[in-house]
């Protein structure tokens, strides 16, 4: 099939960018979206034009590297799917597709479709961990964890840190990302000890990085390739209130 692409091109962080039109010809419906871009890039290469830069790595939906907004939806139209797992049979011959980077102040564009997500790392550094140094920990079965808690914690921990929640949020808020880590650790007895300081530090870092606030649109959940529930945002709010009142 043949498609028309409109792709954000931006030479570097400090230069402006624009949407540029490309024709993608003879695209097989069995290609993944990224393979379609590979083919377009090989074509550009042949013509002596610089290929479109985009982040990708594992191409099996788990590393969290790929980050394209397709026709206004982060990771494209399939629910619970990263771009690398999206296939071209989802599109029709003659479609035109708009491809843009994640848009948020905290995720500045580095080049074309690649953004800098260091802000997420900074939030984890601020407190998204349990302070358990290597060695000197008890036997794994010494800490009993109700199955329900372990399962809920796993639901939250499934976050791949791609940033689609921020890209989808009308306010470029990182609440779902932060809530997922806060909840994952707060649900476990090992993590409960630091829960109060953790939630405060992570939220304060989140604000500092320039993310917006949540106004409960739940767009983040719709875009999340791991379908992490907005219930964790409620949980985080509660954790935050608890930590703030206890003082």
């Amino acid at each position: 099939m043949n498609l028309t692409l409109h792709v954000w091109r931006q030479k570097s962080a400090d230069l402006g960018g624009e949407m540029v039109r490309y024709d993608a010809k003879d695209i097989s419906p069995d290609m993944s979206f990224l393979e379609m871009l590979d083919v377009v890039n090989e074509g550009l290469d042949q013509k002596g034009e610089e290929p479109i830069a985009f982040d990708h790595d594992c191409r099996e939906g788990i590393c969290g590297m790929c980050s394209l907004t397709i026709n206004g939806i982060p990771h494209g139209p399939d629910r619970g799917t990263t771009v690398c797992q999206l296939h071209m049979r989802r599109f029709k011959d003659g479609d035109s597709i708009h491809i843009e980077p994640w848009r948020a102040k905290a995720f500045p564009v580095i080049k074309d479709l690649i953004v800098d997500r260091t802000a997420f790392d900074n939030i984890i550094r601020a407190g998204g961990y349990i302070s358990a140094s290597t060695g000197g920990v008890p036997d794994a079965n010494a800490i009993l964890i109700p199955k329900k808690n372990a399962d809920d914690a796993m639901d939250a921990a499934a976050c791949i840190g791609c940033g689609a929640c921020v890209a989808a949020c009308p306010n470029a808020s990182a609440m779902l990302f932060v809530a997922a880590k806060v909840s994952h650790l707060a649900l476990l007895p090992q993590g409960a000890v630091e829960a109060g300081t953790r939630v405060k530090k992570m939220i304060s870092k989140m604000d500092e990085e320039g993310f917006g606030a949540c106004t409960n649109h739940f767009e983040c959940e719709a875009a999340c390739p791991k379908e992490i529930s907005v219930k964790f945002i409620g949980k985080m709010n509660r954790e935050f209130l608890k930590a703030s009142v206890k003082k």
């Binding site: 026709n71 206004g72 808020s173 939220i203 649109h217 907005v230 409620g234 709010n237 954790e239």
Partner: protein
């Protein structure tokens, strides 16, 4: 007490938005219940108005509280909206959304219009500036005739129209705001977010209908001023 920095934090602000929203919601419900007494006849409504005024200092305390909540609610909303806008300096050229609602996206618009309406509403019924000829009547007992004031006002299709429009926006505002309140306060039993969305929609609709029922009844001649000018 609340920890330092609470009010500076985005989550703290949201919690305050929810708390002030809750207070305003309480007022909206109370006010509706009060108003609906119109269906019980002029006597009941007018006596209710008298009782309210008899509360004296307590009434002023409530009014003060509500005003503070309102100012905070608006101030925080403006502040958050500005911050949220800053969080995405460059927008998408192709905009789309999956599951947000019209009501959620227009909270600022509905909020601002409701605020403007509240000002007009106070001028109309509380301070009786806009239509003094019908808002200063007295009933047989010598009480301020609230009943007549309301019915006669709503006989005017322009006044009714404005009122109904404002109530529709209030319904919209609450249909998102009510559920949001619980989510922001972390008061939803986890997993019930979507159920709460529906509850929220129902609450918004119910309150909107409740308020609208009054002008509707007047326009349909179900509420009339006995032997009155209407």
């Amino acid at each position: 007490m609340l920890a330092a920095g609470f009010t500076k934090s985005s989550v703290g602000k949201k919690l305050l938005m929810a708390a002030t929203g809750l207070m305003l919601f309480g007022f909206v419900v109370g006010h509706l219940l009060g108003n609906l007494q119109i269906f019980l006849g002029a006597k009941v409504l007018n006596e209710y108005a008298v009782h309210l005024l008899e509360l004296g200092p307590l009434l002023w305390l409530m009014r003060g509280g509500l005003l503070t909540a309102l100012i905070l609610h608006i101030g925080l909303a403006v502040n958050l909206a500005l911050e949220n806008r800053k969080a995405r300096p460059t927008g998408y050229s192709f905009r789309a959304s999956v599951q947000t609602t019209y009501a959620a996206r227009t909270m600022m618009v509905s909020g601002v219009i409701i605020l403007a309406y509240v000002v007009y509403h106070l001028l109309h019924f509380t301070f009786r500036v806009t239509n003094p000829e019908i808002s200063s009547l007295h009933d047989a007992a010598g009480h301020h005739d609230v009943y007549a004031m309301v019915v006669l006002s709503f006989k005017d299709p322009v006044i009714s129209g404005v009122y109904i429009l404002a109530q529709l926006l209030l319904a919209s505002h609450l249909s998102h705001g009510f559920g949001s309140m619980f989510q922001s306060l972390g008061w939803i039993c986890e997993g019930n977010e979507y159920c709460m969305k529906k509850v929220s929609l129902a609450i918004g609709a119910l309150i909107g209908l409740g308020y609208i029922s009054i002008p509707a009844a007047v326009l349909l001649n179900m509420l009339t001023v006995p032997g009155g000018a209407g």
